[in-house]
Symmetry: C2
Subunit: 407 residues, 2 copies
């Protein structure tokens, strides 16, 4: 339902240097042929293969070095029969020459060069257009601009590029018991850590978090903060979405004209989740009312908010990577709700073994700090035996790398 | 040799809000117990279980609601026998009460509440210290601050935190043929795309790139840019590291007092790689002279520079994640050098299938834009048959996720 409601954001123009991780909103069609002419792949000598047809170690052939071609120079002189041209990596192969011999294979003596081998035609030459031809579509619209794609865009002389807008996410928390980290915890006040973890989750999803602050348990304060969030693409509120006397999120959303798309999902942690949209169209802003418990807020963000942000940004793949693992211990639960079990992963005998992070209470934020992934445990299932094959949603792919630094 | 030469950088203090992805340079020891007292996990009623011992649907028990406890209030009143207290999620459970009954299970009538069940002791109560106890080490030094860990740090009231410094990387390119993307490509000049791809690779590794520009093929210009890079932790230069007449990197490095640790590795692409350090200590700056070919530069960055940057930043896992795959087509090569084959990955019948991106010429940057990973093909091997089990270094874990957005 979330992915159906959300469409990718319109395009904007950004500097190529700032476009890392963004999604192309245009096809990149090359105006250039690259390399523009045959270029040397080595430092050496441009030769005519016919001149060296019989060359060998025992019968080397000498050619006069007639001129030199540097990289960045246009090829304006031809290699005449019986001569060679000194050439450098990236320099255009001059007319007449049809191969380059590496300098390591050439003995130089004044203006003469001695060749001990007969190169095949095209040796050490990168032909014109090997990388790209003018008019060719080099990257499709919808491509994620990773490091390699970014280099390709730059190599075509494009210093700006059209990408889908980056979703801006307004974050707010609700509750009289909440303080900022530097606040006084006396009287049982607790730090509103959700703004930290949710902002980090936004960044991991490629979105831009904007923190609006803590709404006290009064409808007018919640309304003020929600209004401030209306200029964002997405509003993420945590706490205040249950059915308690002081849970004002739903009535305030309705007062502001929000269309509620769903309310409540059969998962644990995270049952009391709200998803809605303002404006009666697919333009948003969209609003997610997450539970206040730090773990519930993080898990529902992963399952519902992250896919929405990824689709808004134009990505084709919106969910976390999934890896196959086997369960390291039995898991049990009642039927009724899907559980999203926080698990660690370890490599054992060439397989990944998933183990619960321990106490799965939704108040225990450490379970998310320790977790490498989330293991969906189906709503109608009650038991997963040790050794069962499972699929884990990866929160951090670092675990798939070897521990190697010696730190 | 790179990981032996490089040690993690010293600590610096940063705002918790800016610490995402950094590595802790201190153990986080809690000054607080969380929750600080027993708190309610639900909106409902705090009760004494003994009062409701016999309660059932057919024989509900009524209790007088004596007072109300909001979240953020200190527990200053006790629940007397025969009474209950209205309570909200996150509020302290008042003395006397030993369980909370969810409001959904209670019928309210004026100042009386009707209970149709007998809760077990501790029901819907999060005990004091369930998450953290004062004095406990919550996160070890060396922990990577992901979203969950960041939330934990904030929840302990820490608005600043000690992390290892983020490596600063000075990037420069060398060559008379190079232009910036907006430059005139006439005469065979080519865009210095390496500065774009290498800057993106630095960011992916958690480092901060600083672009110094293009050094023309004169030793004094290279020296000027290298000197400008000496205040960084790492200098990454591309091009000019071969043995050509105009490859000044090595002599200029030696003139500047750089200790060369190695020169040349038996890999393809990327043979002419230089690694050295200034200052004769482990403090750096370290210098990597990468080949000029865009693909060679990117591949050698992945294999050599990235692990160094990760170790400098304090990470335990420095290499890319590795996944098991089977080869989709046979691969052949001569002996002598390890090849790092750019491959795409696709899921087929529950397995990952690795296929070459096509033309593996080191000039074809598109091979890196398309690649999901790098496949090491051992130096002494000549053939890998189709179907062979291989390990692929993942450049982008997105491929492990389902294609799901409908875009």
């Amino acid at each position: 339902m979330v992915l159906e409601a959300v469409q990718r954001l319109p395009a904007e123009t950004t500097h190529t240097a700032d476009a890392h991780g963004r999604v192309l909103a245009e096809a990149i069609v090359s105006q250039r042929t690259l390399p523009p002419f045959d270029v040397s792949a080595m430092d050496g000598y441009a030769v005519r293969c016919a001149d060296l047809a019989g060359a060998s170690k025992s019968a080397p052939v000498a050619l006069r070095v007639a001129f030199e071609v540097a990289a960045g120079a246009a090829p304006d002189r031809a290699v005449a029969p019986g001569t060679a041209a000194r050439i450098f990596t990236g320099a255009p192969v001059p007319p007449g020459a049809d191969a380059v011999v590496r300098q390591e294979d050439v003995a130089r003596d004044g203006d003469r060069a001695l060749f001990a081998l007969a190169p095949p035609a095209g040796d050490n030459v990168r032909p014109a257009g090997e990388d790209v031809r003018a008019g060719e579509t080099v990257l499709e619209s919808g491509t994620r601009l990773g490091a390699g794609a970014l280099g390709v865009v730059a190599s075509l002389g494009r210093s700006v590029v059209a990408v889908h807008q980056r979703p801006r996410v307004a974050i707010l928390s609700g509750g009289d018991e909440l303080i900022e980290p530097d606040g006084d915890p006396a009287g049982g006040r607790i730090v509103s850590s959700n703004s930290y973890s949710i902002a980090a989750q936004c960044r991991e999803a490629g979105a831009e978090p904007v923190y609006l602050g803590i709404a006290r348990d009064r409808p007018e304060e919640l309304e003020r903060l929600l209004r401030a969030g209306l200029s964002s693409h997405v509003i993420v509120s945590s706490a205040g979405v249950s059915v308690g006397d002081r849970d004002y999120v739903r009535p305030v959303l309705e007062k502001l004209g929000c269309e509620l798309i769903f309310w409540g999902v059969r998962i644990k942690p995270g049952f009391p989740l709200v998803f809605g949209r303002f404006g009666g169209s697919t333009d948003g802003p969209f609003v997610f009312g997450l539970p206040g418990n730090p773990v519930s807020a993080m898990v529902t963000f992963e399952e519902f908010v992250r896919p929405a942000l990824r689709k808004l940004a134009g990505h084709r793949r919106c969910f976390r990577p999934r890896v196959d693992a086997v369960l390291g211990e039995p898991l049990r639960k009642p039927t009724g709700r899907m559980h999203l079990v926080r698990v660690t992963l370890a490599r054992r005998d060439g397989r990944l073994v998933a183990t619960s992070t321990g106490n799965q209470s939704s108040g225990v934020l450490r379970s998310m700090a320790l977790a490498h992934g989330l293991l969906p445990f189906a709503a109608d299932a009650t038991e997963l035996p040790a050794g069962a094959p499972v699929q884990v949603q990866l929160l951090d792919d670092e675990i798939l790398a070897a521990e190697d630094s010696g730190l």
